[in-house]
C-alpha cells in the first residue's frame, strides 16, 4: 500500500501555484463573549433546552443532592471510577444507603461486558469542565473513568466544576492546552442521546444515555 501512498502524494504534488505561506492565520471568527458570571446560566439554559437536567450543588457537600437524584430514579447499581476524583465523595455518600450499590469499573471491559450492557442502571463521572456557548460537558475518559461509562448505561451523572466552564470550545482548547496533550478519547457531551431520523422528529435515548444529569459544583 505504500505504492498507493506514493502515487497519491505524487499526484497532489504535481500542482504548481502559490500556496498560502505555512502558518497563515485565517481571519478570526467572532468569539462569543460570555462574562464569567453568566456562564453557568448559559451552560444550564443550553443543556435544559435539549432535555438534559442541570442541578447546582450546594458548595459544602454534593452528597445529599446525589443521593436524592439517585433515589428518585430508583437506581440500584451505580457505576463509578474507584480511582477517580469523585471516588471518596461517592463512597461516603452511598455508604449505608440500602437501595443503591456502587459498582466500580475496575476491570477491562472484556471481562464484564454483559453486566455493563444489561446490569448497570447509571454511571457517574467527573469532567474536565464545560462550555457555556453550547451547553457542553468536556470529558476526557481515562483509566480511572473509562469511556463506556458515559455511553452505555441509560443514565449518566456528570459533575462539572463551575470554575471550569469556559465560554467557548476555542477558549477551552487554549486554556486546557488540548493540542499538546490529546488523550485517547476526548469528548464533548451536550445532552442525552437523540435522533431526528424519523420524520425529522426528535426522540431521546436512541443509543447513548437517555438521561444526562449534570451536577454543577461551585
Amino acid at each position: 500500500m505504500s505504492d498507493a501512498r506514493e502515487r497519491i502524494l505524487a499526484r497532489l504534488r504535481l500542482v504548481p501555484g502559490a500556496a498560502p505561506p505555512a502558518g497563515t492565520v485565517p481571519p478570526a471568527a467572532p468569539e462569543a463573549t460570555i462574562p464569567p458570571t453568566e456562564r453557568v446560566a448559559q451552560f444550564r439554559a443550553c443543556l435544559e433546552a435539549v432535555r438534559a437536567q442541570v442541578h447546582v450543588a450546594p458548595v459544602a457537600d454534593p452528597a445529599p443532592l446525589l443521593r436524592r437524584l439517585v433515589a428518585e430514579r430508583g437506581i440500584r447499581r451505580l457505576l463509578y471510577g474507584a480511582d477517580g476524583p469523585l471516588a471518596p465523595v461517592l463512597r461516603a455518600a452511598f455508604a449505608g444507603v440500602d437501595g443503591t450499590v456502587l459498582v466500580p469499573y475496575d476491570a477491562s471491559i472484556e471481562s464484564w461486558k454483559e453486566d455493563l450492557f444489561y446490569g448497570i442502571d447509571a454511571a457517574v463521572t467527573s469532567s474536565l469542565g464545560g462550555i457555556a456557548e453550547t451547553g457542553s460537558v468536556i470529558l476526557w475518559p481515562d483509566a480511572a473513568e473509562p469511556r463506556l461509562m458515559s455511553l452505555v448505561p441509560p443514565i449518566h451523572f456528570v459533575v462539572v466544576a463551575a470554575g471550569q466552564i469556559h465560554a467557548t470550545l476555542d477558549e477551552a482548547m487554549r486554556v486546557q492546552r488540548w493540542a499538546e496533550r490529546m488523550p485517547t478519547n476526548a469528548l464533548l457531551i451536550s445532552g442525552p442521546s437523540k435522533s431526528a431520523d424519523i420524520e425529522q422528529t426528535i426522540a431521546y435515548g436512541v443509543h447513548g444515555p437517555k438521561e444526562l444529569v449534570v451536577i454543577v459544583t461551585a
Binding site: 485565517p26 469511556r147 452505555v152 469528548l187 464533548l188 442525552p192 437523540k194 436512541v206
Partner: protein, 471 residues
C-alpha cells in the same frame, strides 16, 4: 450508472411520488428554517464562513505535506494509517484488517465514504455482515435502499412506513407506531449488535494533522459505540477531510452543525487520537485510518475544481436546492446528491455518464449562498457544463463527450446572428413582421405554459422611433 434516459425516468418517478415529495419537502423546508434560526447575526455568519473557507483553503493548499504530518502524528499515537487510491483498494484494506481479526461482523457508524466504497456489498460478498447502526441508515438498510440525503438518509420515509418495516423484519418485537417507540425498538435491536460486534467502522468529519486526531460528530451515540465497544475501530475517509490544527476545529464545528441541522452542537463530539492505552479498560485495541483518494487527487489538479474539495459534508446545499426539494436524493442515482453531488460525481465518474446532472439546475445560487465554506457551486456547475461540451480536451473525465452536432450547430447559428448587429436587426425585423408564423408550441415549454408571441415592434424599432438611439 445513470444514462440520460435513466435520469429522466428517475426524475419522472420522483416527481410523481406525491407522498415522498411531501415528506422530503417538509423536512427540507424545516431544515432551512432551523439553519436560519441558528445564524441570527448575518455579519457574524459571513465572518464565520470566511474563517471556514480560509481554514479549508489553507489545508488544501498544503494537502500533501499535511497528509504526511497527519500520518506521522497518527503513527505516534498508535493509529495505523492506510492509503487507498480506489474504492477497490479501500475495500481490500478493510477486508484484510477484518480477516486478520477473524471478524465476522462489522458494525457501522454513518459514513458516506463507505457508500462510495459500496463496502457493505463487498463485505457481504466475503461472508462478513455489515450492520448499519445510525438510525436512518439502519432503516434504509432494512428496506434495501440507499440513502436519499447525506445527513438524513431516511428523510423520505414516514413513521408508518418505518413501523411497517420493523413489523416485517422483527415480528417478535412489539409493534410500535409512535416515533419514540420506534426508536426504542431500534435501540434494543442495535444494542445487541454493539455488544456482539467484532469490529466497528466510522467515517471522519475532520482529521487534525497537528495531533493525529479523528473528529466525529453525532447525536445518537452509535458512532461512539462503534468506535469504542468492538476491539477494532476502522475509520474510512477522503483525503480532503484534513485540517491543519486543533484550533481549526471550533469554527468548522460551528459551521457544520448549524448548517446541517440548525443545532449549535451535536450531542456528541468525539476526538479519537489512538487505541486503548495499556492502563485503560475499554476502547479498541487497534485503530486504523483508511485514507481514500477515489478521484480527489484528480479534482485537486484543477485550481477551479479544487474548490469542491472544501466540502465538509453538511448537506446545506441540498436542503436549500429547489430541485433537490422536489426530487429527493434517489433521483440523482449517485452517492452524493444535490448540488455538491452534481459537482463531485461527474468529476469522479465522468461527464459522459453523469453530465446530465449538471443540467438539472437553474443556477439559482441558493446552494452557494448557504455553503459554510463558500464553495462557488453554481460556478462549478457551469464550469462542468463547459467541460462537457468543450473541444480542447479539458481535464475533467469525459470532457467534450456531451457535445452533440445538433446543439453545437444551434449555438453557432445563434452566435452568427447575435454577433452581427445587422444580421440581428434583420432577424428582429423578420421575427416581428412574421410573428403570426411563430410556433404556437415548443416542446417541453408548452407542456406547462403558454408561449408568448413576438411583439409587433421590437425594442430596437421602438427605441429608434422614440428618440432613444445613439447620437
Amino acid at each position: 450508472m445513470a444514462s440520460r434516459s435513466d435520469f429522466g425516468r428517475r426524475v419522472e418517478l420522483a416527481l410523481g411520488s406525491t407522498a415522498k415529495r411531501a415528506n422530503i419537502a417538509r423536512a427540507m423546508y424545516g431544515l432551512q428554517h432551523k439553519r436560519l434560526a441558528a445564524f441570527p447575526d448575518r455579519a457574524a455568519l459571513e465572518s464565520l464562513r470566511d474563517a471556514g473557507e480560509a481554514i479549508k483553503r489553507r489545508a488544501l493548499a498544503r494537502l500533501p505535506e499535511l497528509l504526511e504530518q497527519l500520518e506521522a502524528s497518527c503513527r505516534r499515537n498508535g493509529i495505523e494509517v492506510h492509503w487507498a487510491e480506489t474504492v477497490e483498494d479501500a475495500n481490500r484494506i478493510v477486508l484484510t484488517i477484518l480477516r486478520g481479526q477473524g471478524a465476522r461482523s462489522l458494525i457501522k457508524g454513518k459514513s458516506m465514504v463507505s457508500e462510495e466504497m459500496e463496502l457493505n456489498r463487498a463485505l457481504e460478498h466475503e461472508g462478513i455482515e455489515a450492520l448499519e447502526s445510525d438510525l436512518g441508515e439502519f432503516i434504509i438498510q432494512l428496506a434495501g435502499e440507499g440513502p436519499s440525503h447525506i445527513i438524513a438518509p431516511a428523510v423520505h420515509k414516514s413513521r408508518h412506513e418505518v413501523s411497517a418495516l420493523f413489523g416485517r423484519m422483527f415480528p417478535d418485537l412489539p409493534r410500535r407506531e409512535d416515533i419514540e417507540g420506534l426508536c426504542a425498538t431500534a435501540r434494543e435491536i442495535l444494542r445487541r449488535k454493539f455488544f456482539a460486534a467484532d469490529a466497528g467502522l466510522s467515517g471522519a468529519n475532520f482529521l487534525v494533522a497537528e495531533t493525529g486526531t479523528i473528529v466525529l460528530v453525532e447525536n445518537e451515540g452509535n458512532g461512539r459505540l462503534c468506535t469504542t465497544a468492538p476491539g477494532v475501530h476502522i475509520a474510512v475517509t477522503g483525503i480532503e477531510k484534513l485540517v491543519e490544527r486543533m484550533a481549526d476545529i471550533p469554527p468548522l464545528l460551528k459551521l457544520l452543525t448549524r448548517s446541517a441541522t440548525g443545532q449549535p452542537i451535536t450531542t456528541y463530539v468525539n476526538f479519537i487520537s489512538g487505541p486503548r492505552k495499556t492502563a485503560e479498560k475499554d476502547g479498541p485495541r487497534e485503530v486504523h485510518l483508511v485514507l481514500l483518494d477515489n478521484g480527489r487527487s484528480r479534482m485537486y489538479e484543477d485550481p477551479e475544481l479544487r474548490d469542491s474539495l472544501r466540502c465538509i459534508r453538511c448537506g446545506a446545499c441540498m436542503n436549500h436546492c429547489p430541485v433537490y426539494v422536489r426530487l429527493g436524493g434517489h433521483a440523482y442515482g449517485t452517492v452524493y446528491p444535490g448540488p455538491i453531488g452534481t459537482v463531485l460525481e461527474p468529476q469522479r465518474t465522468g461527464l459522459d455518464r453523469l453530465g446530465e446532472l449538471t443540467e438539472a439546475s437553474t443556477l439559482c445560487g441558493a446552494c452557494g449562498e448557504v455553503c459554510p465554506v463558500r464553495i462557488p457551486l453554481p460556478k462549478l456547475i457551469n464550469r462542468l457544463r463547459f467541460d462537457a461540451v468543450r473541444t480542447d480536451g479539458g481535464p475533467t473525465s469525459g470532457s467534450g463527450r456531451r457535445r452533440t452536432g445538433r446543439e453545437a450547430l444551434i449555438w453557432q447559428v445563434w452566435a452568427r446572428v447575435h454577433r452581427s448587429p445587422r444580421v440581428y436587426r434583420l432577424w428582429l425585423a423578420l421575427a416581428t413582421r412574421l410573428r403570426r408564423l411563430a410556433p404556437r408550441r415548443i416542446a417541453g415549454w408548452s407542456d406547462a405554459r403558454e408561449l408568448p408571441r413576438p411583439a409587433a415592434r421590437s425594442l430596437h424599432a421602438l427605441a429608434r422611433e422614440r428618440g432613444f438611439c445613439d447620437e
